[in-house]
Amino acid sequence: MSNNVISSSLEDYLEAIAEIIETKGHAHTKDIAERLQVKMPSVTNALQALSVRGLINYQSHSPVVLTSRGAEMAAVIRHRHSVLKSFFSGLLKLEEKEADETACKIEHVIGETVLSRLVVLIEAIAGREDCASLRDFLETTMPRVKTEVAEGELANVIPLNELPIGQSAVVVQVDENLRGVKKFADLGLVPGTLLQVEGHAPFGDLLRIKVMGSSLSLRSRDAAFICVKLT
């Protein structure tokens, strides 16, 4: 791995540092932790990693300073972010927050060429005269597309504990915060698995499901972490 490539979480840190410096003038570890909603030791680790790569100057108890390379890299990352965000909010008409979050997720994986071409596309649609009718079309259609699709999808996706008895469903997603998520996965509760609710225990919150030819019982509050799609 070359020194120029850094992991996406480090990119997030670099981006955050640049933004904090811009708004407050200087970035302290605490500010970074607050902004990214992570614990202080994680920040310290990340700052050390960035410092090793020569992107920041970091000494404990003094504000973080970007090196020239760091500043340059931060600018690139932020540019990518703003391009993507304008794509999502300007063309796809997503809400500000959703556009921002989606941009955050994509900015780390997208290549420079794709990004440059995306810039051309955005500028073309936003500026060119022959795109006026397209702009109107997007303005009216995009918001509706979002709601229609979401409603249709959401109606069919429910947490496992709300699945009616006898109804078959397929696991769509298992929340990572489910306690013992690995154990459930070992027993076959992974996306794509077909299951059926067989019943409830006489009292308490036990649920009984049929998965791959075997009956499993689990607690309803754990089942709430498992999203299933009706079939």
């Binding site: 306690r179 690995k182 070992d186 076959g188 308490g204 009984r208 075997s214 009956s215 499993l216 019982s217």
Partner: protein, 733 residues
């Protein structure tokens, strides 16, 4: 002939019929032990296959080779440490998809493998059709069809084992491919780990560890030298998860099930849709919201009756036999010679062996009942039905059975905790179950309650005592579960296996196994403790008594009293002598030494000494107290003792004595099985400490509060003093 034993590890999911196959192969040539530090059983057996001997290690039933439970940890340790020549993976053919998840992990160990598709008849009835050629190719391991319950396919299994053994370079399993990015990550991590050249990678390939690191398995990641790879694996996980749109924490499970689903689509077809219908019909009633609990209670009533009522007959015979044996030895013993040896044999050894064997019928019947409940699959339903209730106290649904059996006897109750799979639930249950008022405490209540309480309060007092035992047990369970035995990240998922008819063979083997375990492990400890207690209660022997009893007895015999009065007077004298001897013994001395400690809870030295003696068996408390109050042990003596007690203690003291007996350390037999079941001396001594502290504290609170509020603090029944005096006891003074 052969220099080395061929070692076979038997692996498979719980309820896949693995134990049946194990029993088929080894018969009774089994050895059951424990893995160090945990309560997981380690079973090995020897089997003659063709012209060689094979050692078979029955690994605990597991769903996965990760380290999320003690079972999985020991299974992996076994595969890592022992020189395993072959893995025999038993697969429930009716549930092949889930069962093959473990198989994919086993292939990664690079140990020759043999697959047994068990209960193939059930699977075929469900309409499943297998293409075994394709499956053999997929796993790189031969497959044998078996039916464990009837022994079909066992010969084929043995010859397949032979073929693998005789092959100088047996086929290694095929390692599944998990997709481009995942395989790339595994390759990169494997290269790194292989470069370390660790001792563990000599037997198990580095690739296995690489996959475990990629899974973020805590047990592997914490091994020395693995730390840098775990960090690298974190990065890989993120990339794979992003690329495949799956959870990074369950990444390997996702891709494994993906691979298996692919294999199943190709190799297994469903011809019709008949699925275990009978099982579902039964469950409609048994786990029904309304019928579930009544059916459960009925089953429990039957188990209790079966264990204790039916077990009572052989128990009585056993007691009679040992009584007769003791008397016979005494009768043929040459008078005046080796008096000490005679007493050691009769009271110490014969009494001790009797004390061990007396539990045997209960254990036998209980495990017969449990074998049936487990073998049929009802046990899991019972846990399902009762979980809501037991969960309120931090216990597992399966803890209900030991608790219930605890009302009969703590010894089989502690042994019944074996059915609880979860380590921390099991330990909690073992810890609290002896608080439940067992049958041996009943004689204490029936002696003391009528002595201190008017008839109309007797039932109430008894009920209160049972209730206190239950409340303390559940309260302690709750407290322990939220502190000491807090399960680490464990979750509740339990499989409800389909109902099956257990084979007589497996039931008998289970009974035999439990009984022999009890005799070997707990029995020897009980015997030893009985002898020690005998010594404590007997030594040092008193040689000069306060009066010459022999002369006094002779005087009575020669007097002109009526025959009945003579017997009465003699037995009183004998009891007085015994009382003096006990007072002089170690137990008596300890009792006296404890007087200052026991005074705040209202006990005098007699009660304390009797408690020490009662450690051998709870019901002995009454006999010991009788001796100390110089009351003979005849039937008529019961009333005498009650009067003596009434005149010496207040009702509050009487209640406190019962309370302490209820809550204190049960008896040596219980402690011995606790030691054996928990597999830890520390646990056993911890329990002794807990019980002593709780019994003392609660009794102290009750006694001090009662004294302060002046409840039951006056010695009652003065009208009976005359009777007491005429009996010549005069304990009131």
């Amino acid at each position: 002939m052969e220099s080395k034993v061929f070692r076979i590890a038997l692996a498979g999911n719980p309820n896949c019929g693995k134990t049946t196959i194990f029993n088929r192969l080894t018969g009774t040539r089994q050895h059951v032990g424990n893995y160090p530090g945990v309560t997981v059983e380690r079973k090995t057996g020897v089997c003659r296959i063709g012209d060689f001997r094979a050692e078979i290690i029955d690994l605990p039933g597991i769903y996965s080779l990760s380290s999320s439970s003690p079972e999985e940890k020991v299974a992996f340790q076994e595969l890592l440490n022992d020189d395993i020549d072959l893995i025999l993976n038993v697969i429930d053919a009716g549930n092949a998809q889930r069962n093959m998840y473990l198989t994919t992990q086993l292939t990664e160990l690079d140990i020759p493998m043999l697959l047994a598709f068990n209960m193939i008849d059930d699977a075929e009835k469900q309409g499943l059709v297998f293409d075994f050629g394709k499956l053999e190719q997929f796993f790189g391991a031969p497959i044998v069809k078996t039916i464990g319950s009837s022994g079909v396919g066992l010969e084929e299994l043995k010859s397949a084992i032979c073929a693998i053994r005789d092959n100088p370079s047996p086929q290694r399993p095929v390692k599944p491919k998990y997709g481009p990015k995942t395989d790339e990550a595994i390759r990169a991590l494997t290269a790194g780990i292989a470069a370390l050249n660790l001792p563990e990678t000599r037997r198990i390939p580095a690739r296995y560890f690489a996959i475990k690191v990629l899974e973020d398995d805590p047990a592997i990641c914490s091994r020395p030298g693995f730390e840098p790879f775990c960090r690298e694996a974190g990065e890989w996980r993120r990339q794979i998860a992003a690329r495949n749109g799956i959870n990074s924490r369950t990444l390997m499970a996702d891709v494994r099930y993906g691979v298996i689903a692919g294999a199943c689509r190709e190799a297994i077809t469903i011809s019709s849709d008949r699925r275990r219908q009978l099982s579902d019909v039964i469950d409609k009633y048994v786990t029904n919201r309304f019928l579930g609990v009544p059916i459960f209670l009925l089953m429990m009533y039957l188990v209790f009756e079966f264990t204790f009522t039916l077990g009572q007959f052989p128990m009585d015979y056993l007691e009679m036999f040992f009584g007769w044996l003791g008397e016979s030895v005494t009768a043929i013993w040459p008078a005046g010679h080796g008096e000490f040896l005679r007493r050691l044999i009769v009271e110490g050894i014969i009494g001790g062996v009797g004390g061990v064997l007396v539990f045997l019928p209960n254990i036998l019947f209980l495990f017969l009942a449990i074998a049936i409940l487990e073998g049929t699959g009802y046990m899991a339903r019972a846990a399902f039905v009762m979980d809501g209730f037991m969960h309120m106290f931090g216990l597992h649904g399966k803890s209900f059975i030991p608790m219930l059996i605890g009302f009969g006897c703590s010894v089989p109750a502690v042994m019944a905790t074996r059915t609880i799979d979860n380590e921390s639930d099991r330990r909690t249950t073992i810890m609290v179950v002896p608080f439940i008022s067992c049958g041996a405490r009943l004689p204490i209540y029936s002696m003391l309650i009528p002595a201190f309480f008017a008839l109309k309060y007797q039932a109430l007092v008894m009920w209160i005592l049972y209730l206190i035992g239950l409340v303390v047990a559940l309260g302690c369970a709750l407290a322990l579960k939220s502190t000491l035995f807090k399960g680490e990240g464990e979750v509740f998922v339990m499989e409800l296996p389909p109902y099956r008819l257990p084979t007589l063979r497996s039931i008998l083997i289970l009974m035999w196994e439990k009984t022999s375990l009890y005799l070997q492990k707990a029995g020897t400890l009980i015997l030893l403790a009985s002898i020690i207690l005998f010594v404590i209660n007997t030594f040092p022997e008193k040689s000069d008594y306060s009066k010459d009893y022999d002369a006094a007895i002779e005087q009575v015999q020669n007097s002109s009293l009526a025959e009945a009065e003579k017997t009465m007077a003699v037995s009183t004298l004998e009891a007085e002598r015994k009382g003096e001897a006990l007072e002089y013994s170690i137990a008596g001395r300890i009792g006296k030494g404890l007087e200052t400690v026991m005074k705040p809870i209202g006990f005098d030295w007699r009660v304390s000494s009797a408690l020490i003696g009662a450690f051998a068996a709870k019901e002995l408390f009454v006999a010991q107290l009788g001796i100390l109050y110089s009351v003979g042990d005849s039937e008529a003596a019961e009333g005498t003792l009650q009067r003596a007690l009434r005149n010496s203690y207040t009702p509050l003291q009487g209640f406190c004595i019962m309370l302490f007996c209820l809550l204190t350390v049960p008896c040596v037999a219980t402690m011995a099985v606790v030691r054996r079941e928990s597999n830890s001396w520390k646990f056993m001594f911890g329990q002794i400490l807990l019980f002593t502290v709780i019994a003392y504290t609660i009794t102290l609170i009750v006694f001090q509060t009662g004294s302060l509020l002046n409840i039951g603090t006056s010695i009652s029944a003065p009208e009976e003093t005359a009777v007491v005096e005429s009996a010549g006891i005069g304990a009131a003074r």
